[in-house]
Symmetry: C2
Subunit: 175 residues, 2 copies
Amino acid sequence: MDQAERGIVMVFTGEGKGKSTAAFGAALRAVGAGWKVLVVQFVKAPLATGEVVAAARLAPELRVVSAGKGFVREGTGPSLEEHARAARDALDLCRNAGDADLVVLDEVNFALSKGLVGVAEVLRFLDERPPRMTVILTGRGAPKELLERADLVTEMREVKHPFRQGAKARKGIEF
Amino acid sequence: MDQAERGIVMVFTGEGKGKSTAAFGAALRAVGAGWKVLVVQFVKAPLATGEVVAAARLAPELRVVSAGKGFVREGTGPSLEEHARAARDALDLCRNAGDADLVVLDEVNFALSKGLVGVAEVLRFLDERPPRMTVILTGRGAPKELLERADLVTEMREVKHPFRQGAKARKGIEF
């Protein structure tokens, strides 16, 4: 990548499918262009999902870290404080991704909506990152401060969804 | 993949970015789940785009064929008839992808909107495919017959786009 070029900030949000999926597609494309890519998954716990398994074949240019604790549910599983600590650690990983050309903050919008990390901290990461670094932030409900800060925003709008019609999530398609 | 499971039909459409990108992300995920994947690009001519280069590292499970002739412009380059022949050949590749668990018809909606291939032929491919095969169709302006036939439709809606603000397409992000 031309080091003189400035990276951009992209947000994939909305209720429809394809947000994290598009981020992984962007990671694939970037690796093919010779970029170094770091995907940090907020909230999601380490799991051998299809994207994680396949991404390993694109190492070391593509690195995926599932830095979350899994489902955020009050009264069961990790406490909100544990989830928040994981989210802060995830953001630290992004801050320390100095030589990555593309950093994906997967599901960070969900972490923001749950208050696990503050929008000011995410904006500060964007401000302080190396200028050439492109950043993709995914998840439904992106806060308006992030939409304002982004160069490109795509809303994935759900037009039709099979789960509404009684089908169940299946390996290969959903995870 | 459980051979007893039925594949689904997904459409990524709309004016926003992320349609083909999400399809490639879905291909990555599917490969990680142990699926065989064929991506057939309509209209797009063979080019060492980032996604094509990186996809080669996921061979043989992931195969990408850019089966088009490039930009469709009247009066210059290949004739409409040549473009149409390429689109028909592309659809034949999909028809012959018998053992693929996922087939992506990238930019087929564009081919449909230009009349390079007919919606009836695409619907027939969907009807006649092996039941376990999942299919993703991308491109803006998906015809309503396809939206009706699909199990899942996501519209990528453009909220904000840097090219509207004067930036140029750049390698790694756009191609």
